[in-house]
Symmetry: C3
Subunit: 413 residues, 3 copies
């Protein structure tokens, strides 16, 4: 690991520079608070969400901390590399990677995809295994991101495809592959206070999801798109929150904490790709409400079924709270793009290409863009599965984690 870090430092020395002052936009005061919100989502949000069991809370939080720092560094290098390799082409006179005011917000999207992935098997791997999975993950993440955004040119403002779909199916695949060697004999035990800590995680994820969906992807952000993405995400999240409570109460006559911890945020996940396309708040509230029902029902029936049938020990129910919402969000973004209705939207909202960057594309080629949205969704799913298979093979060589060590902090602390 120390060697990896020395290599990173040398590569930073050779390639990474702060961007030229002349190329900095005036976005800093807008982007920086969003970056800090996303920062809280990573370390407090994901960290404590995964700490719901008192037997591996320390591992969940500290490994999240470690992996987050590593991914920020690697994202800068790898994104710079792939952007040259796939998009810009290499240029012998200027081989620098430039850091600007948006770089770190992008890097945290990469972190998020790793934490979504990690949620599917947290507690079942040791730090060395996790390190290998993370290295493979960030490598494949940066390839997939460049392909989906720059080659396929999908609209994915909040990383519905590149973060959630990619991360969740990578995690599910890795979780399945791990079952061959480390199959848990019991459930992770949570207690009263560990669930309160996990609630802190869920609440910060829920609160700051609008920052996450908005912090990314626009080449030019306008007042309108800011308001649009934030409004759609907030409204969708209120829908999924209410749907989770209603569905949970209906299913068991009581509220189930694991539903509240996981399904409430599905309304943010599902908006990942679609928040920048839909312009009607009632679409956002409807989608959010329905995905909350889907996610809660899936947590209740599908997650135990997959565990029993396929040995998918999905620790945090990632498939139900991130996988399905990400996938359905990608498909919805295709439908939304294909059905983008030019004259109606224009009349009702005063949209134009100056205030709505996707306008021209959506008006001229709605069906083509719909197809690209589908293509990018399944490209992300495929790359996610591929990343997990590669890391699953590599992990076999280290395997530092016995079955009796599952869900147990004490081994490494």
């Amino acid at each position: 690991m120390a060697i990896v870090e020395v290599i990173i430092i040398v590569l930073f020395g050779v390639f990474v520079r702060i961007t030229n002052p002349a190329n900095l936009s005036t976005m800093f005061s807008t982007v920086f608070p969003l970056y800090q919100d996303m920062n809280v989502m990573m370390l407090i949000g994901f960290g404590f969400l995964m700490a719901f069991s008192k037997s591996f809370s320390w591992s969940s939080v500290t490994y999240t901390f470690f992996i987050n720092a590593l991914i920020i560094q690697l994202y800068i290098l790898l994104n710079g590399f792939w952007q040259r390799a796939v998009v810009d082409g290499f240029n012998s006179s200027n081989y620098y990677i430039y850091i600007n005011e948006k770089t770190f917000a992008y890097a945290l999207h990469a972190s998020a995809s790793m934490f979504v992935c990690m949620g599917a098997f947290v507690g079942r791997v040791g730090p060395l295994e996790l390190l290998i999975i993370s290295l493979v993950h960030i490598f494949v993440y940066t390839v997939n991101e460049v392909i989906c955004i720059y080659k396929i040119q999908a609209f994915d403002v909040g990383g519905g495809m590149t973060v959630h779909t990619f991360g969740a199916y990578a995690g599910v695949t890795a979780s399945l592959l791990l079952s061959a060697s480390s199959r848990p004999t019991g459930k992770p035990k949570s207690n009263y206070f560990s669930n309160l800590f996990a609630l802190i995680g869920t609440l910060f994820l829920w609160m700051f999801f609008p920052s996450f969906n908005f912090g990314y992807g626009y080449t030019s952000t306008t007042q309108y798109t800011q308001t649009q993405v934030v409004t759609n995400t907030i409204i969708s999240l209120t829908g999924s929150c209410l749907a989770t409570f209603i569905t949970s109460a209906y299913l068991k006559e009581k509220f189930t904490m694991s539903h509240i911890l996981n399904a409430t945020i599905s309304g943010g996940v599902v908006m990942g790709s679609v928040a920048g396309i839909i312009v009607h708040p009632s679409a956002a509230i409807t989608i959010g409400f329905l995905i909350g029902i889907v996610s809660t029902v899936a947590l209740h029936f599908l997650t135990p079924y997959l565990e029993k049938k396929f040995g998918l020990y999905d620790t945090c129910g990632i498939h139900s709270s991130f996988g399905l919402p990400g996938l359905l969000g990608g498909i919805l973004s295709a439908i939304a793009a294909a059905s983008f209705n030019y004259p109606t939207a224009y009349d009702a909202y005063g949209l134009s290409s100056t205030n709505f960057p996707f306008y021209d594309t959506l008006v001229t080629h709605p069906f083509r863009q719909g197809g690209l949205q589908i293509a990018a969704t399944f490209t992300s799913l495929g790359f996610g599965v591929a990343a997990a298979i590669v890391s699953g093979i590599l992990v076999r060589f280290v395997h530092d984690f016995g079955s009796n060590e599952i869900f147990n902090d004490g081994v490494y602390f």
Copy 2:
């Protein structure tokens, strides 16, 4: 509940639209971080402040989460409706409700008033009772808000009247009415860690109160008013924090955790109406220090007295930490308005109508404005009591919560 949500979705479809890009101001980068601060105040602040007892921490936090999502949706619809009914008048050609960059900040003020209310009886109602109280509450809140701000034209930048006075007296009344059917036999039990969680809640409320007081109400926000409201609120909060510790140590020779949890934030509550009027930091520090003493003394003597004498089981001591500070803040805002001294203020501060939106009104009609501040304060108090009486009657019909279930999470989890 599912039916309520379907109705909300349909109403969103018919009436709610994102505002026209041409009507968006450039305030997004200023307002959004404030909105996120307020978001943290709602779910972490109020949620965990009410979680001080380990026997109903889960209920406090999760019900806060649920109610917050519901109120955001209902506020958009109801505020839009009442604004048309009372202020703008209905217009057959344009019946839309527009969401802009400030809408969600306003909605969280409505949430806050419900959580202030809820603090007076949390742990003594079940989710169905709470749902009914919330529906009545938001309905009356939006009426009162439109009347106080647009009809009476009171200055209430931080919701001292519409949020705190309204919410606290609604809660106190509801708490009294509930005593008929669900009278607690003991105190809620707190333990070492549940009080630490509650401290997280208090600290976030204390830290982000400046964002709460500033996020609201100005049609035009100027550099000066931003600095004025934030400065007054921060300074008042430091005063109330110090006063609480000093008074608490004086009263019992030790610090009392319930004083620290509740009275320290009274300096933010008291600034709700007055922060936008006073221009002198020494007024803010004096008011904050005195209200901290008042609130701590009230928590120590008045809250137990009211419980013993009138059966007012005020779980979080809301009357002392939000009710009195809100009420006194309203009266202070009347005094401040009436004593606004034109030439002195002008000379010392360089104020004018361009940098201080209240300037013209305060200079030309200080006494009239003072009267309006008093009127709006007691209007809010009255509407709060009325809301609680209505919901108190409705709650009798469901009553899902027996006396033996008080302060006990286990019934619903």
Copy 3:
């Protein structure tokens, strides 16, 4: 204490005013979110970091809360006084102290220096002793700050000298002096959940350190310097985080929680002075990684050695996590200033005096500025030691804390 507060209120009345609207810049929307981040660092960050032991978590968090409020008030008065006494000169026609949009961010730097100090002996002093130490501390802090920034004219954007070096060596000295009267007989006991609370503290400090380093000190902040300071701090923090985990695992074959809690943030401390000078990200990552190793090794070997040899009971290992990084950061800032390479830097980065405020000084007098950086570092160290000696003498007169009360909340709650 009540008397102190009355004096503060009177002094506010006589001297403190909100600055004239004409003198407010348009920085509010940039500065306020940074202020709120720093606020969270003070009360949640430092408060909970020091709450790692369940026997004095309440004291740590509540005393932090109290001291923070006191220091904000006193900083405004004392900084105003010393700025007149040392820099501007007294002026009979305008004796006011003006509060502007940056005042409270500066005040929180003063709070931070007190909490760094407090970490070296938290749990071993009662509230009265702490009050005396705080009063002396803020008095000396404001002198040192004015001397370092305005007289010596050191570059110290994030308070590497004035906050961390000053605070840490004040704390270490005070801790040593306290050992004469209150020498702990055992270690503070932490448990599973108290360490999770402390992790929340560490994570918020780690996340918001870029806001802390950037919120201060520039007369004119440019797009470039914002990006520069934030980038350097984030990258350095990722380095120190990784170095801590790697070193901790190497030292004990397991991760040690106290290393993770304290050494991970050393990458932010070390950037305090140097983040505004270096322009190369690889310097930041290298410095961060090395200081993480230094800090972890120091926590593992040096802290126990100093305790055994000199009776330095450094509760939070402040000397290793803030003292050494602050001191080394000051020395590094001297080296960076002295080696500032004019033509190279200019060519590669397009820097000029308009986008980089330190540019002219660093280009014309690099060696002189290097000397000034060293001078300010050791001035801060000296003032810190002096402050602790004065408060150490004064504390002898009250001594409200017996040896048997060490690390025990129950005495005051």
